[in-house]
């Protein structure tokens, strides 16, 4: 038997195993359960650290014996890195990309890895039953691992970190005065009475802009959390459509591939929105005049 059918069968088996183990009849709770009463650690954090470990291992393997003419895993890592860098450079320009890529690039690969890790069989399903106080009946289920982005605390942490960095980059790029002027000052060539009339309008627009800026982290965190949590819930609920346990994987199988796509798209959307928000505040409108 040639290698290609073997790989296809293995992939199909893995894909079937994923949804089969993904739910197991347990509904994924909205909150990630804490694993310790003393430390603020939950099961999504463990998944996050595993994802980070995987990324670091991959990068260490890629950079272990770096050569000027790359090959193998170094070549692949550089291709990933350069593709994203080039994509962001087209959006942000050379200067901003060089300044912010460490955050945007890390965020993209981090979200992507965490999303895909959540689709690995066992994540969200391997765990222990929670019994009632008497120790008789099962009242819940605590998975050992949970998709990192299926935890609002994680997505909110990313969004807030970006928001703080956004302020830092915006102020250092524009200066505080320029930053405030970017939000509140009238745009366009107004003069005389027209300028006086436009000032309150743009002040009001500025207030709306401030509200928009404050809403952004909330939107960022809920978009990612909603999509990933929703995807996991969809897989679990779809499996319950089949009466027999052996066939649970079948309705979820097509959506498993959709989740692979969603995992990538959501990583891209989060990174892209961060880049666009940054571009909006750091854009001086010079390019339009050239």
């Amino acid at each position: 038997m040639s290698r290609r059918p073997l790989i296809s069968i293995l992939l199909l088996w893995l894909c079937s195993l994923g949804p089969a183990l993904a739910g197991g009849g347990h509904a994924l709770p909205l909150h990630a359960p804490r694993l310790s009463d003393y430390l603020p650690i939950n099961n999504s954090m463990i998944a996050v650290w595993i994802a980070v470990g995987l990324i670091v291992l991959f990068c260490r393997a890629a950079t272990k014996q770096m050569k000027l003419i790359p090959s193998g895993i170094q070549n692949f890592a550089e291709w990933l890195f350069e593709s994203l860098y080039g994509f962001l450079e087209g959006l942000l320009g050379e200067h901003l990309t060089k300044r912010t890529f460490w955050f945007l690039g890390a965020t993209f690969f981090f979200i992507l890895t965490v999303n895909y890790l959540a689709l690995i069989p066992g994540v969200g399903t391997a765990g222990w039953e929670v019994l009632d106080e008497k120790g008789g009946e099962t009242v819940g289920f605590t998975p050992l691992l949970r998709g990192g982005n299926a935890d609002l605390n994680m997505t909110a942490a990313m969004a807030i970190t970006f928001a703080l960095l956004w302020f830092y980059w915006a102020i250092t790029e524009n200066g505080f005065k320029g930053f405030m002027a970017h939000i509140f000052a009238p745009k366009g060539d107004f003069s005389g009475v027209m300028l006086v009339m436009m000032i309150p309008v743009f002040l009001f627009v500025g207030v709306l802009e401030v509200v928009s800026i404050l809403i952004r982290p909330v939107a960022l965190s809920f978009r990612l959390f909603g999509n990933i949590y929703g995807g996991e819930q969809t897989l679990e609920k779809l499996m319950l459509l089949m009466p027999h346990k052996a066939l649970h994987f079948l309705p979820a199988l097509p959506f498993y591939f959709v989740e692979l796509l969603v995992g990538f798209v959501q990583a891209l959307v989060f990174t892209l929105l961060c880049a666009i928000f940054l571009k909006l505040i750091c854009d001086h409108g010079d390019e339009e005049h050239h």
Binding site: M45, V56, R60, T161
Partner: protein
């Protein structure tokens, strides 16, 4: 922003975000977690790759710079070579012209010399021929005189003395030459 979050999440677990699993301790832990993640990725993952890419970019830029310099040097060299070739051609043409002029003048001198030499040979030949002719004529005259004297002696039956012989010779020669 944080106030917005605080308002949404407070009191703990019962705010707007509470039902979605938001919790302040976990949130703060995740913020610290994420910052650590970013720092670790920057140091161990992105740093070396970015450094290598920048090193390669610098090397490529340096290579391009060198290439430009080499191209310029090549162009200069070609220009210098072309100038040297042009100068060499010019020199060669000048030498050829000079050689041609020199050869022409030399050839003319040699030709003149040959002509002079030929004329000398011709003059000598003419002189020799003339001398020879005079000698032959003298001999002929002598033989003719002897012949005339012998004939006269036979015809007249007289023995001629030297004076008679000279006179008869002179008369006969005068008639022949006359």
């Amino acid at each position: 922003m944080m106030t917005l979050l605080a308002a949404a999440a407070a009191p703990a677990g019962e705010g707007v975000l509470g039902p979605f699993g938001f919790s302040w301790p976990l949130f703060i832990a995740q913020v610290i977690n994420f910052i650590l993640v970013i720092v670790i990725l920057k140091k161990f993952a992105f740093g070396p790759i970015q450094q290598m890419l920048e090193q390669r970019r610098a090397r490529i830029a340096e290579g391009e710079e060198k290439l430009k310099r080499i191209e310029k040097q090549l162009a200069d060299s070609e220009e210098q070579t072309a100038a040297a070739i042009a100068k060499a051609n010019e020199d060669a043409q000048r030498l050829i012209d000079e050689a041609r002029e020199s050869a022409a003048s030399l050839s003319e001198a040699k030709a003149q010399e040959a002509v002079d030499h030929a004329q000398q040979i011709l003059a000598k030949a003419e002189a020799a021929a003339k001398a020879e002719r005079q000698q032959i004529a003298a001999e002929l005259k002598k033989e003719f005189g002897k012949l005339v004297a012998a004939t006269t002696a036979q015809v007249t039956g007289k023995v001629l003395n030297d004076e008679d012989k000279n006179r008869i010779n002179q008369e006969a020669l005068a008639k022949v030459e006359g």
